[in-house]
C-alpha cells in the first residue's frame, strides 16, 4: 500500500560515525516495519557490514569520497542500498570464509554475513564505486505475528 511506503536517503562522509548513523537508521526502519527482534538484528547487522565495507574497503576513509544509504519500505519489502565511490568490488573474488584455510582469518566475513542475513543481495559496479542492494521480505514476519 502506498500509505505504508517509506523512502529516505543519506549522503555521508567516509567515517565510523556514518557507519553508526546508517546502522541506527536501519534498526529504526526494521522496527517500524514490524520485524521481530531477531530479524531486526539481521537487517541492522547486514546494513552495518555493508556500510563498513563502503567506508573502509570502498572509500578507504577518503574524506573526498561519500557513501550513500537509501532506505525503502515498499509495504512488503525492505530495500536498502549502500554505495561508495571506491575502486569497485567484484564479489566473485572474495574468499570463502568457511573454507578450512580461511577459518582463522582475522577478516573477510562481512559479505558472508550480509548474505546470511538478507533474503537477497545484489552487487552493482558504479564506475567508480559499488552499490549493494540488500532486500528483506516482510511478509513471513507479518503472518507469524
Amino acid at each position: 500500500m502506498d500509505s505504508m511506503a517509506i523512502r529516505f536517503s543519506y549522503t555521508l562522509d567516509s567515517s565510523l560515525d556514518s557507519v553508526n548513523k546508517v546502522e541506527q537508521a536501519a534498526e529504526e526502519l526494521a522496527q517500524k516495519s514490524g520485524l521481530d527482534e531477531d530479524r531486526t538484528f539481521q537487517v541492522t547487522m547486514a546494513v552495518r557490514e555493508a556500510a563498513v565495507n563502503a567506508v573502509l574497503h570502498g572509500n578507504a576513509y577518503d574524506p573526498q569520497k561519500k557513501i550513500t544509504a537509501t532506505f525503502e519500505n515498499t509495504g512488503s519489502t525492505l530495500i536498502i542500498r549502500i554505495s561508495d565511490q571506491g575502486k569497485g568490488l567484484d564479489p566473485s573474488t572474495l574468499p570463502d570464509p568457511l573454507a578450512p584455510e580461511n577459518l582463522l582469518s582475522g577478516s573477510g566475513r562481512g559479505i558472508f554475513l550480509i548474505r546470511s542475513f538478507m533474503d537477497e543481495v545484489h552487487f552493482k559496479l558504479l564506475h567508480p564505486g559499488t552499490e549493494l542492494t540488500l532486500i528483506k521480505h516482510l511478509d513471513s514476519t507479518q503472518k507469524s505475528a
Partner: protein, 116 residues
Amino acid sequence: MSMKISTRQVDGVTILDMSGRITLGEGSVQLRDAVRDLLSKGSKNILLNLADVNYIDSSGIGELVSAFTAVRNQGGELKLLKLTKKVHDLLQITKLYTVFDIKDDEAEAIGAFSRA
C-alpha cells in the same frame, strides 16, 4: 557504543570481563590491546567473559580469531565464557563455534586450562 574491559586473576587464568560492543573501531582495538598487553606480560591463559557483550560485528569476530591465534602462537590458551545468544549464533554461522573452546560455567572454564 563503547566497550569496557575489566581484568581479574583466578588460579593462573586472566579473566577479561567485557561489556558493550566489539565492533570496528573502539571495541576491536580495545580487545586487541588488552590481549597484546597480557601476552607481553607473560599472561598466556586468557578467558574472555562475553556475558555482557550484546553486539559484535565481523570486525569483532575477526578480532576474537586474531586474539585466539596470537595467544596460541605464544603457547597459551584463549577460551570464551558465557556467550549471549547473538554472539553464539554468529560464531555458529561462521563455523567458529568449533574453533573456540566455549564454556558457560566460569569454574569449569578455569579448570579446562592446561597451564603448561
